[in-house]
Assembly symmetry: C2
Homo-oligomer: 281 residues x 2
Amino acid sequence: MRIITSITEMQQQADRFRQEGKSIGLVPTMGYLHEGHLSLIREAKKRSNVVVMSIYVNPIQFSPNEDLEDYPRDFKRDVELAQAAGCDIIFYPDSNQVYPGEYLTYVNVEEITGVLCGISRPTHFRGVTTIVAKLFNIVKPHLAVFGQKDAQQALVIKRMVADLNFDIKIIMAPIVRERDGLAMSSRNTYLSQGQRNQAAALSQALFEAKEKIVEGERNAAILKKLISSRLENLSDGEIDYIEIVETTLLSPVQTLAGEILVALAVKIGKTRLIDNIIIEV
Amino acid sequence: MRIITSITEMQQQADRFRQEGKSIGLVPTMGYLHEGHLSLIREAKKRSNVVVMSIYVNPIQFSPNEDLEDYPRDFKRDVELAQAAGCDIIFYPDSNQVYPGEYLTYVNVEEITGVLCGISRPTHFRGVTTIVAKLFNIVKPHLAVFGQKDAQQALVIKRMVADLNFDIKIIMAPIVRERDGLAMSSRNTYLSQGQRNQAAALSQALFEAKEKIVEGERNAAILKKLISSRLENLSDGEIDYIEIVETTLLSPVQTLAGEILVALAVKIGKTRLIDNIIIEV
């Protein structure tokens, strides 16, 4: 496995792979890898000749009041884990190169970035689409794999790719969960043991809702109330949102039909956690 | 010469060229070709194996009160002229393909799009950068050629390319002028004979200013006053702006130094004309 830190070198390497007829799979991450990230490497490996994982904590997707400074980092451990999972190249640029002094350009997907997580994080998705557009131009992948844990992110990127005609296939890979159901996240490390125990309620509430949907429940209000009832009494919990939307424009539905995203965000102490299920009804 | 109308077909053709080791030069246009456009084809031809000219009147770079409907079109003539100039492929997509029903994504360069032409055309450059980003992802060029007539556009695109890490070289080709100095533009066709005669004053004022700069004048206020004095008495003329700026952030200068853009926009009747000179002092 190689580590590339230069943007130009990454582009030249991508050109060489393409000239050799090799397909490139990209897994964009902010590092501090867990089993979720590693599953994305494996997914990319199945579908492409060369897997590039980018590790970059992207400042412009954090608001000033968020956890940019505290975001967990452990590059040495990341390298070992990525290599063991079959990654071929880690792209690890430094910030001065990514956003030089006079940086002025942003990619923005409208409407679907102003709902769900976009309400409490109004500039977040603009930061995500901008860095991902840059990574696409640097790594020149044939496909890119994103985790369903950040379902809105994956759907926003799919939209950007379609709208801007990036010739790149976007794969959304399933959520990897801890034994009690908690969706894996680098931010889980912020939780105290007591908070960690409470956090299991997020996925449990979603699974209960899923069961009701499978049994035939189609009323979004009833389902949201069920989820809310499981989350509103957590001692350290504060619900940010619980929403049931269709997956194209992320518009709320009253009656479930077609492909549905049930998504929620809950603050446990100071840690904001998200989780979701996608279900075809 | 081939005409390609399908986005997918253009992408596949671009992939084939690249796999064959051929370099691709892109000349993005809105058609109604004149000698200025043809000079861009020749410039692209000198520097690349294959020249693709796109012809597309991009609706999102026009404001509702502008001339989208009236913009001159003559595809048959364009095909003949492009072929004679050495163009290899015309990419001629239709609007439903370029902006399908639920289009949501825009590329925006901040700050330098809010000055000069950006003041009277506040959404113009966002439309330009968005379509050019799309064309870059569709045609996959190694280089793209833009005319200096739209100097701000070329500088904005250079900035987008640098910021978003597009691996594409941007060439700004010199303005091609009519015998009396008027910069060639598809919009010159809107002018009556009387207006056409007055329009020559734009370039003449710029040339006079250039002469003064060459002679040693460095005071921007004096130069702007000189240009203004040549333009303010045109019977059908209305000055939009006369500005002297540096070419990185397009900030106004008081004393000329380094690379300088002297740019102006004047309405002659209902037709808005622009012209400029770039000079290293």
